[in-house]
Symmetry: C2
Subunit: 204 residues, 2 copies
């Protein structure tokens, strides 16, 4: 066997570099040369990992999509972090879990600002690029299923909570965008989100 390298690992590293650049200058600010520099590899290596720039962007989108989804799920598995050690209730209520997930899907906090910018850039790109749209849809489908399940749990036994899940997801994305362009502050967006969730319980 001849020389071998960790292709998958390298692809992820390059994807991280792509995300960095997208965060800074948007999708149009991504060039093969800059990616290679940020990933600390040569252009040749990048070209070997991805046959075309399009393919690289698609991989990067799937990459960050998985990252966000995984974080949401893990947050859910761990349970309400802000609650103290002692368990006041019988178990974390589905309502609490939903609020937690919603707060995680909406990338409002400063620490997730970069991820939010990357996400928004890819969403806009997907609007004019069917391939990116395909990749993006699968991430959204996963998130919607997750949220819908939580809504169903939280609201007793209503059918499925599809509409509520879609409302929550769209609201989260809209708020994220509005924070990014400075129309809302992080606190204002948080307030809107919490108010919506409160209204959701009031109706079930």
């Amino acid at each position: 066997m001849p020389k071998q390298v960790d292709h998958e690992g390298r692809r992820r590293r390059i994807a991280d570099a792509v995300c960095l650049l997208v965060d800074e200058h948007g999708l149009e600010g991504v060039t093969l040369r800059d990616v290679a520099t940020r990933a600390d590899v040569s252009m040749g290596a990048v070209q070997r990992c991805f046959r075309t720039k399009e393919e690289m962007l698609r991989f990067a989108l799937a990459h960050i999509g998985e990252r966000v989804t995984a974080r949401v799920r893990s947050r859910l598995a761990v349970g309400p972090a802000p609650s103290a050690a002692g368990e006041p209730g019988p178990a974390p209520s589905a309502a609490d879990e939903l609020a937690l997930v919603a707060g995680e899907v909406a990338l409002l906090r400063e620490e997730h600002r970069a991820e939010a910018r990357i996400w928004l850039a890819f969403v806009a790109g997907a609007a004019v690029n069917p391939e990116l749209a395909r990749t993006l849809r699968s991430s959204y489908a996963g998130l919607e299923d997750l949220v819908a399940r939580l809504v169903a749990e939280a609201s007793g036994g209503t059918p499925a909570g599809r509409v509520e899940a879609r409302t929550l997801l769209a609201l989260a994305d809209g708020l994220t965008a509005h924070v990014l362009i400075g129309h809302l502050t992080e606190a204002e967006a948080e307030e809107v989100l919490q108010a919506h969730l409160a209204g959701l319980w009031g109706r079930c």
Copy 2:
């Protein structure tokens, strides 16, 4: 006086060409040459109207922002179009007006798909370009004020309805994006929006 031309008119024409290109290929698909071709003027004319490409994009954003805002306002002034000639109630209720405006702000219908793509592209651009963000914010401020006023009217006498207006605006933008990338169909998004509005009345 030497030769004179309708500068403002030409700028608008160029802005329309920019919007056409943004709709087709996103912000990165806008080149001075293509703009000149689509606007049926020479590159020199474009360069005379706008000192730089940035300035041209900014103007185009303000242009379409005014177009959307104006349409929402005019729709409001005319009153509920779908209602028949005979006036059943005393006057179009604020609730009806709000539903109308919401349906107009969320660019869901096929006929507004292009405007939606353009809007989304600029929102994403504004996330990495402070100047575009400034321009975009003024449009959002106007829309939010309009919606907030309607919400306040519709809900009797609650303070101002800021939170509800922001919720509605963010939800509309999120739904628009989700339709554009094909995660939701136009009908599904419409359903979500109507359900949200229904819930809004139930709580006032």
